[in-house]
């Protein structure tokens, strides 16, 4: 079986969004064992309520990704302060930004607990599905 790094990433993405907790594939010359950790971000239905896709659970730097394509807004309304700034501490349910899809505002939740170290997308810009929005140092 010939799998590229991208294939493995794709498998991880699929598992990440499925209900599967653990997966073991073994074929000749290849084995893959994946297990979700207890700190994995909410998957599937919950994300539709605005939870973000937070990558690589665990400690260290985590990326809060856009859960949908749309226009990225850092504040609730023009002129208001950003929902989140560098140095702020986040809980998984903290609302970090809005993504507008055809006049529908979607609240995006952090999905992780930690401290914001960088804002990676520009206010008012189009962000793609899976695009990095915030860099967060996860709580130990």
């Amino acid at each position: 079986m010939d799998l590229s790094e991208e294939d493995v990433r794709e498998i991880l993405r699929i598992i990440d969004r499925s209900e599967v907790e653990e997966l073991r594939i073994e074929v000749s010359g290849f084995s893959l064992h994946v297990r979700k950790t207890a700190t994995s971000p909410p998957a599937g239905g919950e994300r539709e309520d605005g939870g973000s896709r937070a990558a690589t659970p665990g400690t260290g730097t985590q990326i809060v990704e856009a859960p949908m394509l749309g226009t990225f807004y850092r504040s609730e309304a023009p002129g208001e302060p950003p929902l989140v700034a560098v140095g702020d501490h986040l809980e998984p349910d903290s609302v970090v930004c809005l993504i507008e899809v055809m006049k529908l505002m979607n609240h995006v939740q952090a999905g992780v607990s930690g401290t914001v170290v960088d804002v990676l997308a520009e206010d008012g810009a189009l962000v793609e599905f899976g695009q990095p929005l915030f860099s967060v140092t996860a709580d130990a």
């Binding site: 794709e10 949908m68 394509l69 226009t71 507008e100 899809v101 055809m102 793609e128 599905f129 695009q131």
Partner: protein
């Protein structure tokens, strides 16, 4: 408004096909790709790619708000929907119109009429087109009267049903009597509605469709017909133009009927009117209109020498067709075979996987439309089309000879394909004779 930057809301070979024409026309392009298609050939060809969502179509290619947001957000002035997905979705067409973005296709209201079977049937009748005789019946005596008038066999359907459920065939008066009560009880049980609908059954049918094109200045033409009778479970496998062994008179009648229907629903852009032709009686009946570019459009392109995607963009830009019916020249014969990733030995189940080898022949008179190459992963989320092989020659035999060579020269490894089945079909004496009907392929496989 002239289209300058086009958003391609599709994937696979048709996305590649659309992007190639855009490159020739010098149009800027943005591809909306799912996560699974981020590294596709179409993604390489587009000027810009935006990831619109997760691989499953319901999370990406079928999301109207996302497509609109992506097209508007990337500064596109038009959206080409390809085929399948949202290509005939009135909601996408109207949402784009609200945002001042051109939908490359007919207006939303036209899509709404054509997409509703009853409205389309009513429009066809109003335009003078024959439709398959059928009506609702209330009693057995009523059913008997219909069948006696139309002739047997007749199909007995639940009026409130759909999806092929509850359909029974009555071959004579006795069998009509025996299925009638049963069908009524089943209809009541399955759909909570015991009304029955009787329809004439076309025993030996050909599927013939007519390509039409209409600009916004009142010019409407047809570009000939296509015969798509080689089908499996209503999926077309081989298509060709002109339709073999079709009388000049019937061909002209089909083309005129197609134009009449398109006019009746104020059709704009290119579209296809589908008919069923009763081989036994020589009658034809309107089936439906497809308001988009079709998978099998290349056979028409090869005989009429037009780029149908370019034509779609021209019409969408508000330009005139630039030619009249009398200018349309249909030259030679073209046949298309759909190479699919499927396992013919196991009930044609789709066979996703990675293409280890993918070599398509290069032959004079052969065109190959494909998004595949060695290394391409065929994901499980979408259709199984790998490539379309289209052969063109002065006569049908020439095109068939080219296709036979091409099918023998294909080298694909890594996924199962229907190559051998296609080779068998084009070599079949019945297919070669051009005397086939829509049930031929399934009978040949049995």
């Amino acid at each position: 408004m002239r289209v300058r930057r086009l958003f391609v809301a599709n994937r696979g070979e048709i996305a590649v096909r659309i992007l190639r024409t855009c490159a020739e026309l010098g149009l800027a392009t943005v591809l909306g790709a799912s996560l699974a298609d981020r590294d596709s050939l179409a993604a390489e060809l587009a000027d810009r790619v935006v990831v619109i969502g997760a691989p499953h179509p319901s999370e990406s290619y079928l999301k109207v708000p996302t497509i609109v947001a992506a097209a508007v957000g990337t500064g596109c002035d038009a959206v080409h929907p390809g085929y399948g997905f949202l290509s005939e979705n009135p909601a996408l067409a109207s949402a784009l119109a609200e945002h001042g973005v051109v939908f490359v296709g007919p207006p939303a209201e036209t899509l709404a009429i054509a997409g509703d079977k009853l409205r389309a049937r009513a429009a066809a009748i109003a335009a003078g087109l024959p439709v398959v005789p059928g009506r609702e019946v209330s009693t057995f005596a009523d059913a008997r009267a219909f069948a006696d008038a139309e002739g047997y066999p007749v199909l007995v359907k639940a009026a409130g049903g759909g999806g092929g459920r509850g359909i029974k065939l009555a071959v004579d008066a006795a069998s009509l009597e025996s299925v009638f009560g049963l069908a009524r009880a089943e209809a009541a049980a399955a759909f909570g509605d015991e009304r029955l609908y009787l329809e004439r059954f076309v025993r030996a049918a050909r599927h013939i469709e007519v390509q039409v094109a209409a600009d916004t200045h009142g010019t409407m033409v047809h570009l000939g017909e296509r015969d798509c009778s080689t089908q499996r479970r209503y999926q077309k496998v081989i298509e060709e133009t002109p339709a073999p062994r079709l009388s000049r008179q019937l061909r002209d009648s089909l083309c005129e009927a197609a134009l009449a229907f398109a006019r009746a629903i104020s059709y704009r852009n290119i579209g296809t009117v589908e008919f069923v032709v009763d081989v036994e009686t020589g009658e034809f009946f309107f089936l439906e209109m497809n308001c988009r570019i079709q998978v099998e459009h290349p056979v028409t392109e090869l005989v009429c020498g037009l780029d149908l995607v370019a034509l779609q963009l021209r019409i969408a830009s508000g330009e005139s067709l630039g030619f009249q019916q009398a200018d349309v020249r249909l030259d030679g014969h073209a046949i298309e075979c759909r190479l699919l990733a499927e396992d013919s030995d196991h009930d044609f189940r789709p066979a996703p996987g990675r293409l280890e080898r993918f070599v398509m022949p290069e032959l004079p008179g052969l065109r190959v439309d494909s998004h595949c190459r060695a290394g391409t992963v065929i994901p499980p989320y979408y259709d199984s089309l790998l490539a379309k092989l289209i052969a063109h020659g002065p006569e049908r035999d020439d095109a068939l000879a080219t296709m036979t060579t091409a099918l023998g020269d294909i080298e694909v490894a890594g996924v199962q394909t229907n190559r051998e089945l296609l080779a068998r079909l084009v070599a079949d004496s019945r297919f070669k004779s051009g005397n086939i009907t829509t049930n031929w392929l399934e009978q040949a496989l049995a």
